[in-house]
Symmetry: C2
Subunit: 367 residues, 2 copies
């Protein structure tokens, strides 16, 4: 096997230790004679796997007791519909959802929400998190939705203190809903500031097909009548994610990732590493006029680093050279072009260093 | 590892060869340096895996060209809502859905459908498929829903020629919708008789978290406005199951199962084995007055075999003795009690023989 570094935006690199353990346990989990894939979700073996995963995630994110953690299916995209379907049931007709728009994922959420309610875009920028003082909020909004890390555009909240201030009097009684798909578990967060946090697993958690929803108790039981039962947060919560058969193997892998995170030192240590990796990469991009970035420094994502060759006619040569060195999946999203390096928790700093070395050498060669 | 036989109703036993291959490829799929879990769903490696899985399933079930195969998330249960959400959009208010009720899964489907339309239960029996001549069908119904194998109660269509006759003039223009979750790929079917076939993967296909939908082209594009985009059959079909990130690893395992099925001789061979395994087990139950079954012989499921000890005070002793022999997950569903042996494609006849031997020995011991 060649040493490769996989900069995919997701599904993405996973810790080697996790994959090795999964391979070793594939045919016989802990002497049970069964693969985890073969276990009844209601049997004691899988229940123990589920409970450990839930407990470890709760510990890693310091999730308060009045929040439920749901393991669902459908991906982050499905939550753009499932959030309004689950939160608007007790609202009179004409509910308004406020959005902070910071990029492609905000776009998708806004478009989907319009199917269920009036939408107000309270602030918009795709190169920086709009300052909270400038948000044009709707008094009594059903909730305020934000994508706290834009996977495609690379805008992240709280890189330099721009985390939403839930104490803002305009937000009194308005739940914050955060799509944290692409940076969950990479930084310490205060869950109590949010009403709902959701995240597709396929970046920092595990395989595609698992979606995490963390929801404050009082927001349960507000589903619209047309919400499918399998995706009704209250039914999922009341049945500990087993109202229907959960994605058992994905939950098992997520649980192994949570154990790996704990062994590494938890989320605070992941944040320390994320800061170091992002600093290394942005420093190279900032100090080499062959490249450019387009996100304000205050809002730069530590997870997804979009960048452009100033001479875009070199793009194909850049990607071919990267691939030859085992630096994979660096092409930017088709909607924005250029390059993107996703450097999630499981990306070692050696991978980032290899990319930095290549950035510098490629630029030098082209001069 | 002890030799065990896992009679779980799902998630359920998988072919050992499939699990061994998955373990061997876990850290490095075909020299890519990546696990399948780490691959971008839009990269050439995963696209090749997806296309092979789709092609093999199409071949195994002889799916006609005018049908799309979708790989979705949410499980069979979610389809109870997603089917009406996707099929009722072009119906005037007051659409009626006809149901044939044959057990617990029909119950669940009926309950969920009532959220979206008027429901007519055209026939009902939990011990036999009601004869088609007696179905009280609604002229111009939106569709007719049937669960062609009831996982809990063990009623299966077409054991002795009771497959629905789509040529019934009362069904003219009424699409048949079939929940085949627990017997898909265990028998030859004529897909062209159905409008939609759906199946959760976790019985005969692969791991929980993948749901297969096979739908006739002309039924696409009829979604209700409140249908979540991520679950809109037309969007999923138009994007080859990649409108959002699909459950990539589950699809890969399903693909390995499809390859295994082809190596075994395909669905016709699976049907031959299913007939043999079911005959072996029912024969033992019929010829030992210690046990009883409650489904009419004409409608007995080849996949899920519920049975009861006539003296139910022996249930715990029966299950303890079974477990001691490595015969696992034989307890019946809590809603019906008793015992249930699920003998899916991946259950070798040796497992059924081991169960039969135990049935006979346990009965003899208790006399």
């Amino acid at each position: 096997m060649t040493q490769i570094y996989n900069f995919s935006a997701g599904p993405a690199v996973l810790p080697k230790e996790v994959l090795a353990q999964a391979a070793a346990e594939m045919l016989d989990w802990h002497g049970s004679g069964m693969s985890v894939m073969e276990m009844s979700h209601r049997g004691p073996e899988f229940i123990s796997i589920y409970k450990a995963a839930e407990r470890d995630l709760r510990e890693l994110l310091a999730v308060p007791d009045n929040y439920k953690i749901l393991f669902m299916q459908g991906g982050g995209l499905s939550q753009n519909a499932l959030i309004p379907l689950n939160l608007l049931g007790h609202k009179p007709d004409g509910a308004t959802i406020d959005f902070i728009h910071t990029g492609s994922w905000s776009d998708k959420s806004i478009k989907e929400a319009r199917k269920y309610a009036h939408v107000n875009v309270a602030a918009s920028s795709t190169t920086a998190v709009p300052p909270q003082a400038e948000w044009r909020l709707t008094p009594g909004a059903a909730y305020l939705h934000m994508c706290t890390n834009e996977t495609i555009g690379g805008v992240e909240y709280d890189v330099s203190g721009n985390q939403p201030d839930a104490g803002d009097p305009r937000l009194a009684g308005v739940p914050l809903v955060a799509d944290m798909s692409s940076h969950i578990l990479s930084r310490v967060i205060d869950v109590s500031k949010f009403g709902v946090i959701f995240a597709g697993a396929q970046k920092n958690i595990g395989p595609a097909g698992v979606t995490i929803v963390i929801i404050r108790d009082d927001l349960l039981g507000k589903a619209l009548p047309v919400c499918p039962s399998a995706f009704d947060f209250k039914l999922v919560a009341d049945n500990e994610s087993m109202y229907n058969t959960p994605p058992t193997y994905g939950i098992y892998i997520a649980g192994l990732v949570f154990q790996w995170l704990k062994r590494q030192g938890g989320v605070a240590e992941m944040e320390r590493r994320a800061i170091a990796k992002a600093a290394l990469l942005y420093h190279a991009l900032d100090h080499n006029d062959f490249y450019e970035t387009r996100v304000a420094k205050s809002s730069r994502s530590r997870m997804n680093v979009p960048f452009y060759l100033k001479d875009e006619s070199r793009n194909e040569a850049f990607l071919a050279g990267a691939k030859a060195r085992g630096l994979l999946q660096l092409k930017g999203h088709k909607s924005v072009g250029g390059m993107r390096a996703s450097i999630y928790n499981a990306m070692p700093i050696e991978g980032v260093q290899a990319l930095v070395d290549y950035l510098n050498e490629f630029a030098a060669q082209q001069r």
